[in-house]
Symmetry: C2
Subunit: 359 residues, 2 copies
DNA sequence: TTGAAAGCGGTACCAT
DNA sequence: ATGGTACCGCTTTCAA
């Protein structure tokens, strides 16, 4: 293998001193010109000359030297639980976009590893590698870890409001749950199932709460039937089977996320419960996979990209020492994306098997 | 919001000097003890004392200072095209795992942005932030960018062998294509479709080549019918419709990846072509979503995690100035994961409509 | 309007 | 077996 670098020890990148000498100015002046220091008045001609040489030499300041001097790395840490999750992917895209736009880079890691492996925590959080951290909450058991980290590094948490020292960013999960349930209600469903994620997590509980509220508003407070899942498709598969067995009167189901919805639809078809004829399914959260279930999955779209962007903005303000609110709900709201998995209850299994009292 | 950091300017982390003084030794000695410098013989008692104080003070060396001095950041860049892709996710997991195990961190970025946005390229590659780069090739048009980058920074490319200055890591794509086609052949299919990604990319062409080879080995060289896709589910959807229309004799289809397969299965059901009764589908590459198509998708599993690990190992050796081979195929091989989307041709549409000469 | 020089926190060489 | 010290490349006061 040809090795462009090691053979001739990679042509060292030009340093500030190189530029300064070439431009015929002192190092300090070069630095101030390049950084646009407003407190310094340079002769236009000098400024031009410095800038031109910097450009010509392709000068890029060395990050570690800057960081050492300024105590600022311009790197933000991002710790998430599951990269394969579509939620995380969307969020990550938004975060990266916003970070880059502001001159920050993203250092990625696994939230669980961060929480539970001290060694990895040191490597990642120690050594002043990052200026701040965006952390995905999840398991309730992370609470302590989050607080410890938040005490030591500017941290923004998403998915969990108020439980930590650190400011949080949120989408309106409750509204999302409400929209999903309301959709089913408006289609004419009366007995509705909710397949959840893990109880006790904010995401699950807020989505469920929204669904409950929609039911209550429609005078159906006691007709929401909750089954726990685990956020995954297998979990949704299992939960739907359980629900269908225990609650034959249910004609519509809200699932806490797309994976769960995918599992639920697969389970329904598996037991010859046709979707949406016999059972309607609406998932909270959206993903490209929703377009490729059969039938295509109706969802509530969450502003996850915006969540990522907002997390970065908030964190940067926090790093800069500004005052930040304790928790920030992104302005953009969830909205319904109807596809084909939810429809009016046509073949109500329920009515045939278990007559239900009206209203 | 309470601000643990800005109020009392975050208790500065202890530096080496702090540890050295507390342990009653010189800075230099402390450094050498902590770094296990083998060329130095310290009194056991002294070593113990230094290590103990470092531990007690929770000392972590400051990354930027080390990097400045050693010209080494212990950070590896990873540039990928599409984070939402399951391929990338697996690879990323493998890479992260291996990197962390070797004391490296991963800095993530978007390959297209890297290739086409000079500004972002400077931010990311300039300033000596990373020691090396793992780059996902993709669009053929990246060629130049890859070479430019490879000339300036130790780079490992995956997905494209031989086309660049930089060493590459690969999985045996050709074998994967062969396994998929062979599976269909062994099930009894004779007229087989191949729904591709983008022609001219190594991934697509190698997988197709493998499928061709399997056909040829079975004496079916002219019975492989290729339709182009674009790696996506919508692309697969469209391609399957086209294939079914133009080639009614086809009873089995290999798709270049899971997304394409998902689209293909959806399209089949959509046109009342039952899977696997009337049409079998085998996708190359695996993902959790394959468990939740209806029917569940038969796939060829690729060793992507290992690919990520191998990329990191190779890159580190490259960075360390060792000689590395031009391209490295990971040892672990693709294997078939049969599920339910491929079966013997039972209701051969073909035979009814276009009688085919036997074998 | 510009230059000189003191660090930022480590590492590694040269003394002792 | 240990200490002293010259850098790494940059920012930022202080002087001129």
């Amino acid at each position: 293998m040809k090795r462009p670098h090691s053979t001739s020890p990679r042509a060292r990148a030009p340093k500030l001193a190189t530029v300064a000498k070439a431009a015929g100015v002192s190092i300090g002046l070069a630095s101030r010109v390049i950084n646009d220091d407003p407190t310094v008045s340079v002769r236009p001609e000098t400024r031009r000359r410095v800038l031109a040489t910097a450009e010509r030499l392709q000068y890029v300041p060395q990050a570690s030297a800057q960081a050492l001097r300024q105590r600022r790395t311009k790197v933000i840490g991002l710790a998430v639980h599951d990269l394969a999750s579509t939620l995380v992917v969307k969020l990550l895209e938004g975060a990266r976009e916003e970070a880059v736009a502001r001159g920050y880079l993203l250092l990625l890691t696994d939230a669980d590893e961060l929480a539970f492996t001290p060694e990895s925590r040191r490597l990642y959080l120690g050594g002043a590698r990052i200026d701040g951290l965006i952390l995905q909450d999840g398991h309730a058991s992370m609470g302590d870890a989050i607080d410890e980290i938040g005490a030591v590094l500017p941290t923004v948490v998403f998915n969990t409001p108020g439980r930590t020292l650190s400011p949080g960013v949120l989408v309106d999960e409750s509204l999302a749950g409400r929209l999903a349930a309301k959709h089913l209600i408006e289609l004419g469903h009366r007995e509705i199932g909710f397949i959840g994620g893990v109880q006790g997590t904010h995401t699950n509980d807020a989505r469920l709460d929204g669904a409950r509220r929609a039911m209550a508003e429609a005078g159906l407070a006691s007709s929401l039937h909750v089954v726990d899942g685990d956020w995954t498709a297998p979990g949704g598969f299992h939960a739907l089977n359980q629900l269908v067995g225990e609650r034959p009167e249910v004609t519509g189901v809200v699932t806490v996320n797309v994976s769960t919805g995918t599992g639920a639809i697969a389970a329904a078809l598996d037991s010859s419960v046709s979707v949406p004829q016999m059972l309607s399914v609406v998932a909270i959260q959206d993903a490209w996979t929703a377009d490729f279930t059969v039938p295509r999955m109706s969802t509530v779209v969450l502003p996850l990209r915006e969540l990522g962007q907002e997390a970065v903005r908030l964190l940067i303000r926090y790093i800069d020492g500004e005052d930040v609110e304790e928790s920030h709900v992104v302005a953009q709201q969830p909205y319904l994306h109807p596809r084909e998995s939810a429809a009016p209850p046509r073949l109500a299994r329920a009515r045939r098997e278990h007559p239900v009292s009206p209203g």
